[in-house]
């Protein structure tokens, strides 16, 4: 037998072992200590025309005790549950963060922005992983109800720091305590709703602008939903220029719609005919009759009279997609003050150059309802640094730049007068009658359309599924569908009890 060659020796086995280590490390993904990095597409915030940051900045590394490498407390601010993730807003938010970090040397504030469609999923996952952020917001009542028992009671910190809540509307302050068992929020911004209208489309149609005062008539007629319907039909135009009152109107090729209610759900639609709730006094599911009426009107507006875009039309390139008023193809949009975030695009020339706001019509009883939203920030119970988080919270609550960027009306009364001056500068030379927005504060929907529901997340999902069905399916009987929704909600409420 030939003698065996000498063994290759240690180097080959060492090389193999090193190869295994490299492969395993690569398979395990990123390093265990996340490294701070500049966002690849970020620019410094310079104003309304800045290039927005396209992605969330990388997380800041922390060591023991949750301190950064330079010994500061890291406070993570999670944005996306409400407004705040629009391209127009991200630059200003980062500027606010940078200003805070430069203003003191004990805290590093880090910003995380997620699109609304995934923000709830991501936050839930972070909580489950023990990696909850410190501050969430701005977020409306929907977010507060979704995470109510995860939010910190702020009362001890308000008392400790002497934070002044005297200048706030007590009803809204109380709203962040009722139903939560603790003071989980301090009012930041309130958003009345009203009609945004595209003046150029009105001029083109040769029709007067809608009223700016409650009680005013429109072209000699009472300003109610019937009058708005006729107006909206005149402002709905097909590709060949025929409006929806014309026998030649081509409903298959609509180019411009008279009315829309952007970024809301059927509970919001319902408030067109007055406030209501899908939960009755005894906790059972109930669809208010005025809401069924509002839904019927809205449904007919989409499928019978065609002055409201359907789901397919709203998602087409012609209307954004999904930013109908900004597209310049919708004459009137009943939406909140926060929509000033997105009337004009972050980049490029706006298509809606001249616009203003008007009061919504009154219902059959002569009553006007303008649904109200309220946003604020919350501190997660899981925060390891509640004092620092509260310090950041108060900074955000007092930041007027953020307020203007979110289009939020200050909850603090002393700031309300100066608020619209900021918006005027932003939208100059277009002049907007902000008195309408102030006046609409007197007509909120009570109870709020965003009120709590048992089994909140599933009930909310059921309502959204109901909405999806209405905006995509022709030929439905609304009364039957409303009863189906009620039945679904009742079974969900029963599951929660």
């Amino acid at each position: 037998m030939p003698s065996q060659r000498s063994r290759p020796g240690l180097p080959r086995s060492v090389a193999a072992l090193l190869g295994v280590i490299v492969l395993v490390t690569a398979a395990c993904g990123a390093s265990t200590v996340p490294s701070p990095s500049t966002s690849p597409q970020s620019t410094t915030a310079t104003g309304a025309s800045q290039t927005p940051i396209a992605i969330t900045p990388a997380p800041v590394a922390t060591g023991a005790g949750g301190l950064t490498a330079d010994g500061k407390v890291l406070i993570r601010w999670f944005v996306g549950l409400g407004t705040g993730a629009q391209p127009d807003q991200i630059g200003d938010e980062q500027a606010v963060v940078d200003e805070f970090n430069k203003s003191q040397d004990k805290i590093t504030l880090s910003l995380e922005i997620y699109q609304n469609t995934t923000a709830y999923d991501i936050l839930s996952t972070q909580i489950a992983a023990g990696n909850a952020p410190d501050i969430i917001g701005p977020v409306g009542f929907r977010g507060f109800y979704a995470y109510g028992d995860q939010l910190l009671d702020l009362e001890p910190y308000i008392a400790k720091t002497g934070f002044d809540t005297a200048g706030m509307d007590p009803a809204i302050l109380a709203a962040y305590k009722e139903g939560f068992g603790a003071q989980v929020g301090i009012p930041f911004a309130i958003y009345p709703s009203f009609l945004y209208y595209n003046k150029a489309l009105f001029d083109e149609a040769g029709v007067p602008y809608p009223p700016h005062k409650i009680g005013e008539q429109y072209d000699g007629k009472p300003w109610n939903w019937d009058t708005l319907t006729e107006l909206a039909k005149k402002l709905t135009v097909d590709a060949t220029g025929n409006d929806a009152t014309s026998a030649k109107f081509d409903k298959q090729h609509v180019d411009q719609w008279g009315y829309y209610m952007q970024w809301t759900d059927p509970r919001g639609w319902g408030t067109q005919r007055g406030a209501g709730s899908v939960v009755d006094g005894s906790g059972k599911a109930a669809i208010p009759a005025n809401w069924v009426e509002a839904w019927q009107w809205y449904y007919d507006g989409m499928w019978k009279d065609h002055f409201i875009p359907t789901g397919s039309e709203n998602r087409s390139d012609l209307l954004g997609p999904d930013n109908a008023f900004q597209s310049g193809h919708v004459a009137m949009d009943f939406v909140h003050l926060w929509y000033t975030c997105c009337v004009w695009p972050a980049e490029g020339a706006p298509k809606v150059k001249t616009w203003d706001i008007a009061v919504p019509p009154a219902d059959a009883s002569g009553k006007t309802t303008a649904k109200l939203h309220a946003d604020t920030f919350g501190i997660m119970k899981a925060t390891k640094h509640p004092d620092e988080a509260f310090q950041v919270l108060t900074y955000l609550l007092g930041n007027d730049k953020l307020l203007a960027r979110y289009g939020g009306f200050p909850a603090v009364k002393s700031k309300q007068a100066a608020f619209f001056t900021t918006l005027d500068k932003r939208f100059a030379p277009n002049k907007v009658d902000w008195q309408v927005a102030l006046d609409m504060l007197a007509y909120p929907d009570v109870p709020s359309h965003e009120a709590d529901m048992p089994n909140f997340l599933k009930a909310d999902a059921a309502i959204k599924a109901f909405q999806e069905k209405l905006i995509t399916t022709e030929g439905l009987d609304i009364a039957t569908e409303a009863e189906g929704l009620r039945s679904t909600l009742q079974s969900l409420f029963d599951q929660a009890s």
Binding site: S6, T117, S312, R315
Partner: protein
């Protein structure tokens, strides 16, 4: 250092005697060890990222784990499994999933095979370029591709309906109309058939050409050759593509989720979509884990049935 090797005896090999240095048994064992070393990274990854999470999911499926309240997790026994048996959404999502599979899997196989036959035909010019073009769609991330399709299939002014209108047909609402959504999903699925096509091409290229020559001599036409020679000989490849396609189709999530912006209707509430909603929209991770294991068992059962039946129709060259 040079060593002297002991002569290996048959008895010694059968006893798995280990020679002092080298020998047949020792070499085989060394090779075996090196084999384990080289698959160790994959094994480690499998254990860490597949096996352990599966075990964790099984454990969670017996709890009421809520993502928002991870500290309040409690053992609930078989309650999640009892719940899913009575859950209408689960039943509906299973039916929708099977319906989806019944349409898309045969369609994808047919289109993939058809393209492969075309792109192995001597009469087609530019085969290399065409193969590349048909394969390219797979390189686009699925979410981006679905978003593109959202625009293309838009019922109001999408390209497909504009083309149909050009020839005088009024196109449906491909995304909004529940009866057309399965067709839309199938169309999106066909767009990504390039991978299957390539595998079919490899299978077709493995069919001995002398068989076709012999068949031609016997007077067989193209269809007869395809039916009697090509198809039987590529059944292993068909089996592979069918198996992979089934497993993937059971787990479809991205396309229906993105198409309906997270608000699925009956046509898009596939099993995996429902699972995701339970886990991450409603935060019921315990219940979702039970759903995940049910899906695993269903896919496993289908795979076993497929393997068992394959003996009747899959022909492996070299077997009797």
């Amino acid at each position: 250092m040079a060593t002297t090797q002991q002569p290996a005896t048959l008895a010694g090999v059968l006893r798995h005697d280990e020679p002092a240095h080298g020998g047949i048994g020792g070499m085989a064992r060394r090779e075996e060890r090196w084999g384990y070393v080289f698959i160790a990274p994959w094994l480690l990854g499998f254990v860490l990222f597949t096996a352990l999470p599966m075990a964790a999911a099984l454990a969670f499926s017996f709890t009421d784990f809520d993502l928002r309240r991870p500290d309040e997790i409690a053992f609930v026994g078989l309650r999640n499994y009892e719940r899913l048996l009575a859950d209408r959404d689960v039943a509906q999502s299973l039916v929708t999933t099977f319906r989806f599979i019944a349409v898309t899997v045969p369609l994808n196989l047919a289109v993939g095979l058809g393209l492969a036959v075309l792109l192995t035909s001597p009469r087609v010019a530019g085969k290399a370029l065409l193969r590349t073009l048909f394969y390219l769609p797979i390189q686009i991330p699925l979410v981006a591709a679905t978003l593109i399709w959202l625009g293309v299939l838009n019922g109001s002014n999408g390209w497909v309906n504009q083309l149909l209108e050009f020839v005088g047909i009024r196109g449906p609402d491909w995304i909004g109309d529940a009866s057309w959504v399965p067709v839309s999903l199938a169309l999106i699925g066909i767009w990504g058939v390039g991978n299957m096509m390539l595998i079919f091409i490899a299978g077709l290229q493995g069919v001995p050409t002398e068989l076709y020559d012999a068949a031609r001599v016997d007077g067989a036409g193209a269809w007869t050759s395809f039916r009697r020679i090509t198809l039987p000989l590529i059944t292993p490849v068909v089996f592979y593509n069918l198996l992979i396609s089934l497993v993937v189709s059971f787990q479809v999530f991205v396309q229906p989720w993105v198409l309906k912006n997270g608000i699925p209707d009956e046509a898009t509430n596939l099993f995996n979509v429902n699972l995701y909603r339970e886990a991450f929209v409603f935060n019921q991770l315990g219940y979702a884990s039970a759903l995940g294991w049910v899906l695993f068992v269903v896919i496993l059962a289908v795979t076993v049935v497929l393997f068992r039946t394959s003996r009747r129709w899959v022909y492996y060259a070299g077997e009797r």
